[in-house]
């Protein structure tokens, strides 16, 4: 909302300058975007062109001599309309204009001491100007006094504060609303609006009917005005419209806008001679067509329309129709002042056009202003368009126009604000707001006028007290509440920290990904979660696997020359199942490149990512409860260097190398469902007793077929070893020249111990031999180097 301070001062006295006003308004919750003079230019003066000669070295420039009262300046001017005897706006050397700072200069060999200005050069938007004002300099009237301020002469000595209002303050989309707000700050009354006019002729109700056939219109007034004379508006109207950001057109159209600015009530004028004797307000039929003012044919659905003889002639509250608009030939007018359903207007304006009118309807209208606006309109049309106001008013009214009475206690106000506002201060605030207040001991009865559509409950009144008393007076304290321990999910936090301690960098990426990336790393592809209206293709669906994000991060870094990448991310994966949206907490990790251990450089391989998985799961208490199984692998993974992670018979994730068909680099990844993992219970730590008796260690290496997996051998050794075999470690793995090419060697270190006695060599050897024989026969293995 662009507020003209000149316009504001028509209705309330403002004891401070515009900048202070803007800051004070901000402190009561009405923020501003900018505040500046309407014409942000300095050192301007009215001058008279005494001489005007062609420039000796140019076919379009002129050399002028201009009297500015204090001196006579030689100024080179390029405007086609410059001539002797005219009064002009002179920017003196040193003048700062929006686009340029004026300096003494030499133009094609001729000295120039200033500039003769066009209006747009002073910062006035071209859209407000006539053609001649754009093509040439501004020629002032003969009454302009040399040496005076041209801005004042033109009535453009205004300031504009551009407010960014909160959406509840529809009342501030009017000069009157602003006047009440500013008046409340400084305790100044709001001046009365001139709404007087004479009426003549037959009552409109005899010849004109309005039928409202929709619940989306709650108030509709129509007034007849005859014999208007269309011409240019007086300067004060044009200036106030321009300062408010509205382009002046002609007196009649300008008055409808002017009254909307004053009252907040949008008006619509119909050329009465294009209407029949009635108007209907209804919802459009599906597919109904209407050509609006801007000459576009609109296809309507449930929008509110004004119709005449069954045919839509206007989109209520948004835009009028072409057929009934005011033209330069219009004589007789029907004025519409109405209230339409704000949600409906919002829907229509979103589709078609956001306008000053629709914005006001969306934020809500005071029904008393609907009447006021008609009266004010008649007043101005009579004065500035020679209109003959016709008797009577067509009224359809279902609105409640009474004040709202709200009861509140001083105690409640102070309890919510956490302040001790003195009683008289509270009363003063309400009185300054022009709310009627009745005090009864500790209770206040406040009558809130209908213009404050944002106030309906006592909390709203508390806010008013807070706003004007000053929230800065609140002294912070902590809530007085019972002590209790706070809870949070420590495990999720510890998982992240464990991963970081294992050497991975935590990433945070966008959950919205490309649709084409969704199926990656899934075997049975889930139903995806898509947003209806994505901003870009890159962020169109919610990811299920975090690995596609990590792969993108890999590619991003790789393309910047970073090859050693060890990262993880924890976050939700999303999918749809049985028409329900599902979220699952996931953890993904990726390794690629190499790492250094002293002077050793180690290339990441499968066993690094496996180590990270095992370290994490063991840390979380799942030691010995999970296995890796080569089943259910997504095609993005290498079929012979990957596995599913199985815990308690349930697949909780995948681990392995990226399939070279997907990305040819050596990349190792894992992803587990943290949600599924944490469904499993973990027992607390209970210490087991430490044996007092010595342990006996035995080493053995087997030569085995390459296809026999170590875990199966381990399992068998464990079975054969019985309860005295406490631990088995694989300490060597060998393939190479020393054994057959289809064989491998695995070396095991076995630990024997008993809690209650010292074991004898003989009994250990007996078990050891049994293990060797068992493995040899089960796996067709041979003991190596024996």
């Amino acid at each position: 909302m662009k507020l003209s301070t000149k316009f504001l001062k028509d209705y309330v006295d403002v004891p401070v300058d515009y900048q202070e006003l803007a800051d004070r308004m901000t402190s009561i919750g009405n923020e501003y975007d900018s505040a500046s003079p309407l014409i942000p230019a300095t050192d301007l003066v009215i001058g008279e062109v005494l001489e005007c000669k062609p420039h000796p070295d140019s076919d379009h420039l002129h050399v002028t001599l201009v009297d500015i009262g204090t001196e006579k300046l030689q100024i080179v001017c390029g405007a086609p309309n410059v001539k002797e005897g005219i009064k002009v706006i002179v920017a003196k050397p040193g003048a700062v204009l929006p686009e340029v700072t004026i300096k003494k200069s030499v133009i094609r060999g001729v000295e120039s001491n200033g500039m003769l200005c066009a209006l747009f050069e002073l910062g006035l938007d071209k859209k407000y100007l006539h053609e001649e004002d754009i093509n040439g300099i501004c020629i002032l009237g003969k009454d302009a006094k040399v040496g005076d301020d041209p801005i004042k002469y033109l009535g453009l000595d205004d300031e504009v504060i551009d407010f960014e209002l909160t959406s509840n303050r529809g009342d501030l989309l009017s000069i009157l609303g602003m006047a009440y707000e500013v008046g409340a700050i400084y305790g100044n009354p709001v001046k009365e609006m001139d709404t007087t006019f004479k009426e003549e002729g037959e009552d409109i109700n005899k010849s004109f009917k309005v039928k409202v056939n929709t619940k989306d219109c709650t108030l509709f007034l129509a007034k007849s005005v005859k014999d208007v004379v269309i011409k240019e508006s007086p300067n004060f109207i044009k200036e106030r419209l321009i300062a408010s950001g509205i382009r002046p057109i002609n007196n009649v159209v300008d008055i409808s806008n002017y009254v909307m600015l004053e009252t907040g009530q949008p008006l619509h004028f119909y050329d009465a001679d294009t209407l029949g004797g009635e108007l209907e307000v209804r919802n459009a039929k599906e597919g109904e067509k209407l050509t609006t003012l801007d000459k576009n044919e609109r296809v309507l659905s449930d929008d509110i329309v004004i119709s005449s003889h069954g045919k839509a002639i206007g989109l209520a509250g948004v835009m009028g129709g072409l057929d009934t608009e005011i033209t330069n030939n219009t004589k007789n007018i029907i004025i519409e002042s109405a209230i339409f359903n704000n949600v409906k207007i919002r829907m229509t304006s979103k589709k078609i056009l956001r306008s000053e009118a629709s914005n006001r309807f969306e934020k809500g209208i005071d029904p008393n202003r609907t009447y006021l606006a008609i009266e004010r309109c008649c007043n101005l049309l009579e004065k500035y368009a020679d209109a003959k106001i016709q008797t009577g008013l067509v009224i359809f009214d279902q609105e409640n126009k009474d004040d709202k009475e709200i009861e509140i206690t001083f105690d409640k106000i102070n309890k919510v604000l956490g302040l001790e506002v003195p009683h008289e201060e509270v009363i003063k605030i309400f009185k300054n707001l022009q709310f009627e207040v009745k005090e009864n001991k500790d209770t206040l009865k406040v009558k809130v006028p209908s213009r404050r559509i944002d106030i309906s409950i006592k909390e709203d009144l508390i806010e008013e007290v807070g706003r004007f008393y000053g929230l800065e007076n609140i002294v912070g304290k902590l809530p007085t509440v019972p002590l209790k321990p706070g809870k949070f999910n420590k495990t999720l936090r510890e998982i992240k920290h464990k991963m970081a301690n294992l050497g991975l960098n935590e990433c945070l990426s966008y959950a919205l990904i490309r649709e084409s990336e969704f199926p990656y790393f899934q075997t049975d592809v889930k139903e995806m979660v898509k947003v209806l209206d994505p901003m870009t293709e890159d962020h169109a669906v919610m990811r299920y696997s975090l690995l596609s994000s990590l792969m993108n991060i890999y590619t991003y870094n790789k393309s910047r020359g970073i090859n050693d990448i060890h990262i993880f991310e924890m976050g939700n994966g999303f999918y749809k199942e049985n028409n329900e949206y599902k979220e699952e907490m996931k953890l993904a990790a990726l390794l690629s490149g190499e790492y250094k251990l002293g002077f050793e450089t180690i290339k990441f391989n499968f066993y690094d990512i496996k180590g990270i998985l095992e370290d994490l799961l063991d840390f979380l208490g799942f030691k010995d409860r999970y296995t890796l199984e080569v089943t259910d692998l997504p095609k993005e993974l290498h079929p012979y260097q990957s596995a599913s992670i199985i815990l308690n018979g349930k697949n909780i994730g995948i681990i392995g190398k990226i399939n070279p068909a997907f990305n040819k680099d050596d990349i190792y990844v894992m992803e587990i469902s943290v949600s599924k993992l944490l469904e499993n219970r973990v027992k607390g730590i209970t210490v087991s007793e430490i044996s007092k008796y010595p342990t006996i260690l035995k080493d053995v290496a087997f030569i085995l077929d390459k296809d026999i997996v170590a875990s199966n051998v381990l399992k068998e050794i464990k079975r054969l070893g019985g309860k005295l075999l406490k631990d088995i470690q694989i300490f060597d793995y060998y393939v190479g020249d020393k054994i057959d090419s289809n064989k491998k060697s695995l070396a095991f270190k076995l630990t024997f111990n008993d809690m209650n006695r010292t074991l004898t060599d003989d009994e250990v050897m007996e078990i050891f031999d049994k293990i060797i024989k068992g493995i040899e026969s089960k796996f067709k293995a041979q003991v190596r180097d024996k």
Partner: protein
């Protein structure tokens, strides 16, 4: 007298024998030549039987004395040799301690996680529970039950990603308020915070379509704006430093009444005025207020009995300030060179 002369000679000879040796083998040889078979001292002992009885006692004394003396000399030499050899060995083991160490792989914790954890710790220490709500929620929980009925003009500002007519990506963490209030069947006082990802149709240099919010809600008897201010002061001082002040400005949010915008002392200039704070000395960081009675009522709380406060800052910019991040996109780009800088603990 004769025998004493001999003793001195033996010691002298021993001393000269020992003087030149360098190894333990040499020492062993010398030891044998005195104390071994046929050794000088051994031979002296063998003479005992030739000594007349009356002199045997005297001779015994002499023998013990010389044995003791020889043994001591030999032991001393042995110790001297041991020390010398150890010194040599240590000297040979000398390393260059400035060569690179053998370290385990280094990881890091993302700056946003750090900010979330720091705030969680602060609020948990004051008895707040940390809640995590779903990122896909209903229109009902995200708007309607927060006093933003359909068609409400403030819904525009949210620019929400809808999934269908009922479901959306949460545009704020506030649905967690609704969920927690509704789940609390006894309608008793509450203290919760809810950190999490939120999504808005908004993408430019200062906004990203996904960011982190940190919702807070307290419901109790006589909870006031002063309680909110004190709480946010703690919050701001924790993240932005002890000198940070908090300022309330009245504003409007449908879910709170009264509502306020909360400014903190500009973290760039410390309040003196700079380009970041547009010379005001303050930076707007969040919206907050007293929970609207409609919001309480819709979730089953009696607004006559309880009041509450709620706040919901986006916290990405706190991370930007704390770690000197200049472009919000860095937070979500995951450049390894950026991430690696978070490989140490924060200052407490």
């Amino acid at each position: 007298m004769e025998e004493y002369m001999e003793r001195e000679d033996i010691i002298k000879k021993l001393e000269s024998d020992l003087e030149s040796i360098k190894t333990k083998n040499d020492l062993q040889t010398i030891k044998a030549s005195y104390l071994g078979k046929n050794g000088i001292v051994t031979n002296l002992s063998l003479k005992m039987k030739e000594i007349p009885n009356e002199e045997k006692k005297e001779y015994g004394k002499f023998l013990n004395l010389i044995k003791e003396e020889v043994t001591t000399k030999l032991n001393d030499k042995e110790q001297e040799l041991d020390k010398m050899l150890l010194d040599m060995k240590l000297n040979n083991e000398k390393i260059d301690i400035t060569l690179p160490s053998r370290r385990s792989l280094k990881g890091s914790i993302h700056p946003m996680t750090r900010i979330v954890e720091e705030l969680e710790d602060l609020f948990v220490s004051m008895g707040y529970d940390v809640i995590s709500g779903p990122e896909i929620d209903t229109d009902m929980n995200s708007f309607t039950k927060l006093n933003l009925p359909e068609g409400h003009p403030a819904r525009d500002a949210q620019d929400t990603f809808y999934l269908d007519k009922d479901y959306l990506l949460r545009p704020h963490t506030s649905p967690a308020q609704v969920r927690t209030m509704e789940a609390n069947k006894d309608k008793t006082p509450l203290r919760i915070v809810c950190p999490g990802k939120v999504y808005r149709r908004d993408d430019d240099a200062t906004h990203s379509h996904q960011f982190m919010q940190f919702e807070g809600l307290v419901i109790g008897e006589d909870i006031s704006l002063a309680d909110l201010k004190g709480t946010l002061e703690l919050f701001a001082k924790k993240l932005l430093g002890e000198k940070t002040n908090v300022r309330f400005r009245p504003s409007y949010f449908p879910f709170t009444e009264p509502s306020c915008e909360v400014d903190v002392t500009c973290f760039k200039c410390g309040g003196k005025g700079c380009s970041l704070c547009k010379q005001t000395g303050w930076i707007e960081v969040l919206g907050a207020g007293v929970v609207h009675p409609n919001v309480l009522r819709m979730s089953g709380y009696d607004p006559e009995k309880y009041t509450g406060f709620a706040f919901g800052p986006g916290i990405d910019r706190f991370a930007m300030f704390k770690y000197g991040i200049t472009d919000i996109r860095q937070i979500y780009t995951n450049d390894i060179r950026f991430l690696e800088q978070f490989d140490r603990k924060d200052v407490d």
